[in-house]
Symmetry: D2
């Protein structure tokens, strides 16, 4: 059967990335408490394609994913990248996996437990210059406006916000430095007015209401707080912090962003 993809191409143009996108697949990630967590990812997987080849073989991405049983962790991703390069005869490769991650959280007063969901991502690249890895965590939080509190006789507008931390660990001999999703969630929550929970009883609601009022934070404060913590962490080679507040007094968002260190390969 004809292998059209292997035919020559005369347009003399390398392709930076070619592969599959929006592939939904079950994966396994590491869980600080339970060792492993089964979840469901939306995957983008690609390789570069040199100018002399017409096409790549898309089915091999799925075969590689199956061969590694969908295990997407900081320690196993280097092997999957290496395998993808071999299967697809490519010099560079990139895997992006976006997935929800669940952690059991206890309510602050009652101790009532329930699972909170966080949108996370692993982005792993392998090129001639080396491998690079990014861990991304998007954390829902409460933010309470300092201006609204200061200028009003009572009350203060507050809202759900999202703190997104994209972190590139330093690369060591054994691969990227280990940073847990749980640690990034702590940093994000510490930068906000209060954490967000799946289950709160009334004494808990009272607690987080006053906690938020006691800790007003602009989107500018939140992005700086989180950036300041990442900046001094010796495991962090580069980072980007993005915070958005879904303003309760507007129909649009207020956002801020700080990048630091090495953010591209």
């Amino acid at each position: 059967m004809l292998d059209i993809q292997r035919q020559a191409d005369d347009r003399r143009l390398d392709i930076d990335q070619v592969g599959v996108s929006d592939l939904r697949y079950p994966i396994t990630v590491w869980d600080k408490t339970h060792g492993r967590q089964e979840t469901i990812a939306s995957l983008t997987m690609s390789v570069c394609l040199p100018r002399h080849f017409k096409g790549t073989h898309m089915s091999r991405f799925i075969e590689a994913l199956n061969a590694h049983r969908g295990e997407i962790t900081m320690r196993t991703l280097p092997a999957m990248l290496h395998d993808l390069k071999a299967r697809l005869e490519a010099k560079t490769t990139r895997v992006e996996a976006r997935f929800p991650y669940f952690i059991e959280r206890a309510a602050p007063i009652s101790g009532a437990k329930a699972l909170m969901d966080y949108d996370c991502a692993f982005i792993a690249e392998s090129r001639a210059e080396g491998d690079a890895f990014t861990l991304s965590v998007r954390v829902p939080v409460t933010s309470l406006c300092p201006c609204s509190k200061a200028i009003s006789d009572y009350g203060a507008h507050n809202q759900r916000g999202h703190v997104t931390l994209d972190v590139r660990p330093v690369e060591g001999e054994g691969g990227p430095a280990l940073i847990w999703i749980e640690e990034l969630i702590e940093i994000a929550e510490a930068s906000a007015s209060a954490p967000v929970y799946a289950l709160l009883k009334r004494p808990d609601e009272r607690h987080v209401t006053m906690q938020a009022y006691d800790n007003p934070a602009f989107v500018e404060d939140m992005v700086r707080e989180a950036a300041a913590r990442l900046k001094v962490d010796p495991r962090v080679a580069g980072f980007r912090v993005h915070v958005v507040n879904h303003e309760s007094i507007h129909n649009h968002g207020a956002f801020a962003q700080i990048s630091g260190g090495v953010t591209t390969l």
Copy 2:
């Protein structure tokens, strides 16, 4: 050229709706202040198909829309429905147009003006039993939790919420009774703790912060307030009120819904 669509079908099954969906097209709607407003709709247009026909002619929906210059109003929709039935030789037809609608709003203290956006929809159906028309408006608002206010020493969690009103006007000789988008926005805002604006200066922010604190409302209160107003309006044959608060202390929503009167044809 063969007309496959006109061929016979022997499965003896009428089709309730067949047509085009997710069609993005510029339309004109009525504007209480300026007469007309140009906007952009996502359209679904369909007809029924009797059992003896194999297919419908999809291109005629676009032709009908062009013929009516995309004018989607309570007064012009009956003619478009009639035209669709004629062009597609159908006994029933349905047009759904979802679009953003803009209104200039003045901030409560400074009077600073800016445009607020509201998601609206017209749903029009024509059947043997008669025509039916639904106007839908989704209004962003601020809601402040009465429980949080009552049990806390200070502060109260509040958040952006959305009040969606689906209203079926009574049918008269000249078509459906006239109800303005602007009137439904007023009902939605009156049911909430405070309205939402695109532009607020600091004196305005102080005002809406205290307005929300002075008017706490559960999602249950909001849905009842709006339903109570629609229930007594003689122009309203049927309605559905749906309210959701994007809780600032949770990563999920709190919602409530009340239907009343005639909601189906």
Copy 3:
């Protein structure tokens, strides 16, 4: 601590549904091959609220979900509905769970295996009139246009389509009749030009290309084929079939819909 929710309300309006929405939570569903499958749901859970109560207790929905360990199956949902009514002192309750479901599929010629994802939902309601249960499955398929094939000298436009089957099983003594997600996927695929796979090698690609060309189907044919099969299934009390083709020659969709039997409580 004050229980604001239990206070009286004097607006004399029952609330049809009040509860939580957009709650993301891990759940367990039945799997025809492996017994059970872990997945992640987006949940909406609600109860009715009589006119004399001001509010409901939202945290109890999460507690009920935890108590049942997120097990959402045709056999366990009746118990969860009963529990929700008891915990929330309500006469009616409704649970909607939307989740991806994975099945290992073998490619038609090579036999290469990979997981395919399907968007599914369970919707369960309990009212005075009885319980009702709906299973929904959204199946991606290939559709090839019969008109394009008939009028062209060669080729035929084809595209990804989605067949959505909402099925209400008949209620028996032991609960709703058992209908597997896998059975509904078979019905949807049999109504289309060809199935869709996650992994196809070249001999498989050749096979499905010709399979689709040999089985052209309008959106009207697909909706009728699926409806005809559901109509004669003695386990099916009511159904709705919705098919949409994401037309490869347009930037909009072509859709059709047929309902049959009992579709509301």
Copy 4:
């Protein structure tokens, strides 16, 4: 009234971007045929914030947008950027406007006319190093798989794809070089198997079916064709081409991407 935002901040961290996001607003863009086109944008507007200031004044973004009457064109954006820097006392600013753009297209044989929609964006930045401007156009097209055509006895799978061109014009004395949305649409369509239309009669459908079959193109071919054209255009300082095919035989996409020239400031 206290101006909290102007207070000092001692964390010694500059903020790269702070501003408003997801702001929906009517805007005016240039139209090659009609001079101007009214459309609706989703806007993100931001400035940098030096380390010694606590916060920015979010309301001024809306005021600046109003002052320029929402005119977002290659010729007027430099003035809006300058104004934003003045109003917000900032050294850098960034405006991103995403909007649908409509063009009347005639069907290839019948000449039947209808409006096609394209997702476009303007991204404008002003920094110490100078101004930079990016025009982005996302064009829906038909792609037909060369492998499927070559290995099958008849037929070939085809599907809707999206070609996204992000183009940075060279900066001249009068601002960025003028490149029309219409020109980028032509480049995108020329790289695909066939264009996509809103309205096709049967002779048109026959034409585009055979046109696609006569012009098979992998996602790799499409990305190279478009990149080759942008590479030799003297008005283009930098570009990124991204193509995705929504595969009709899979439930995931196939994509490719090529960048060239100057893509960052």
